[in-house]
């Protein structure tokens, strides 16, 4: 009897939720004001839920993250030591402090939500306008460029993932090689295609692909992946398969990078 009551109560609750959702859906379809209000309410709740579940997931993956960070720290310290050794005393004094380096501002952030299973993937970054994130900024990790910020709220940002058909990055074959657009192949988790590489350019499978620095979004020389098989298209250019370094399934910690000259460059382009 008691079990029957519990089941009846659960069915009642489910029917109530279904009918209430149906009523609110009708309301939001019939009034712009209510639609906006209900949508923002739902987004707020979903953001909190994602944040909460992400916190739990982060807690249980702390050990792995620590190992990765320790390894990254080690590599960075090694690079820093080598760079310091090569610098003269005068140059050392000119290095600026803070998170701004050259033309770029770097903001560390975490991924709150990421979509990986559609053709138009996106990610929600846990930093927003309050922390200095702006639209058009890039999202990078130590293993590559992962997205571009499309919209910014106070504490969160919406970024178009590199795994999105509308996204391409200006990439360079090797540090001094030819430049072409790199975009997701749309099929595999870490596959991309580098296009428009002139057919006279020499390269071999396994060569590293870097960001070119020719876009106003990403800094140059960020390693993206390694080249694989290639084919000549229209008898003029190569299409090269690239295996990305970044594993989009486990990316958590990112850096939002903003080009300080981006607005000025865009204005100049529009004037021409």
């Amino acid at each position: 009897m008691r079990k029957g009551n519990i089941i009846y109560g659960l069915i009642g609750a489910a029917i109530f939720i279904i009918l209430e959702v149906a009523a609110l859906t009708m309301l939001s379809h019939n009034a712009q004001l209510q639609r906006t209000w209900i949508s923002s309410g739902i987004q707020g709740v979903m953001g909190s839920v994602w944040g909460f579940t992400q916190n739990i997931s982060d807690y249980f993956s702390l050990r792995k993250s620590n190992d990765e960070l320790a390894q990254e720290n080690f590599e960075l310290r090694l690079k820093l030591a080598k760079a310091e050794e090569a610098l003269t005393a005068d140059l050392k004094a000119e290095i600026p402090a803070g998170s701004s380096v050259g033309e770029y501002i770097y903001i560390p952030a975490t991924i709150v939500k990421i979509s990986n299973n559609t053709q138009h993937n996106y990610m929600i970054v846990g930093k927003g306008s309050n922390q200095g994130v702006v639209e058009g900024a890039g999202v990078i990790t130590g293993k590559g460029a992962v997205g571009v910020i499309d919209a910014v709220s106070e504490n969160y940002s919406y970024a178009r993932s590199f795994k999105n058909h509308e996204m391409s990055i200006s990439a360079r074959l090797g540090k001094e090689g030819a430049v072409g657009p790199l975009s997701w192949n749309g099929r595999t988790g870490n596959g991309a295609i580098l296009k428009e590489i002139p057919h006279h350019v020499e390269f071999a499978p396994g060569d590293t692909v870097y960001t070119s620095g020719y876009s106003s979004i990403f800094p140059p020389d960020i390693p993206l992946g390694v080249t694989g098989a290639s084919k000549i298209v229209n008898g003029a250019t190569y299409e090269i398969e690239v295996k990305l370094f970044e594993d989009f399934g486990s990316v958590r910690y990112v850096t939002v990078v903003e080009n300080k000259g981006q607005v000025e460059m865009k204005r100049l382009e529009e004037e021409q």
């Binding site: 029917i15 009918l19 209430e20 009708m26 309301l27 379809h29 004001l33 209510q34 209000w37």
Partner: protein, 171 residues
């Protein structure tokens, strides 16, 4: 059975009256008249909570559809009243009514107890209605004033509706 048939006819007529009220009785921004909470509260306790929710959904939708308001507004506001009706009857009027599937009336249960249950029903309905209608754009003082004024007006209306839907057996 005869009582239930009468209830159905009266309930349908009150839904039509509510549509007319919504379309022609505009009493300003602070007053919003609705018989729906009292009507839903007066649905016989022999009707299950799930059945009550479906009746409330249908009547709310009918009122929304045929009146000049927003479709879904009355429906969304009245559903929690239907969901909580059995609980309110249990708390304010006692467990006996539910276990016997009995009907309640002012004469049998007293005006005070039924009034308390009606006020809670109306407050739940109006609270949701005012919040959803305002959609975060109106100041809190406006919402509270609207809620308070409408609560008083609707309570008087609810007493009449309850008297119609739950007549004393002696009458």
């Amino acid at each position: 059975m005869k009582v239930n048939q009468h209830f159905g006819i009266l309930y349908t007529l009150l839904v039509i009256a509510q549509v007319i009220l919504c379309n022609y009785a505009q009493l300003g921004p602070y007053v919003m008249l609705s018989m729906l909470p009292a009507m839903v509260f007066c649905i016989p306790v022999s009707v299950s909570t799930i059945g009550c929710m479906f009746i409330a959904f249908a009547s709310g939708l009918a009122v929304d559809w045929f009146s000049e308001g927003l479709i879904g507004l009355n429906t969304a506001a009245i559903l929690p009243v239907a969901a909580l009706r059995t609980g309110m009857v249990r708390v304010f009027l006692g467990e006996d009514i539910i276990s016997r599937g009995d009907r309640f009336s002012f004469r049998k249960n007293g005006v005070a107890k039924i009034s308390a249950a009606l006020i809670l029903s109306i407050a739940i309905y109006l609270g949701l209605y005012v919040i959803l209608d305002g959609a975060g754009t109106r100041p809190a003082w406006f919402n509270f004033t609207r809620l308070g004024v409408s609560l008083v007006c609707n309570y008087i209306l609810a007493l009449i509706v309850t008297d119609i839907l739950t007549p004393d057996e002696r009458k």
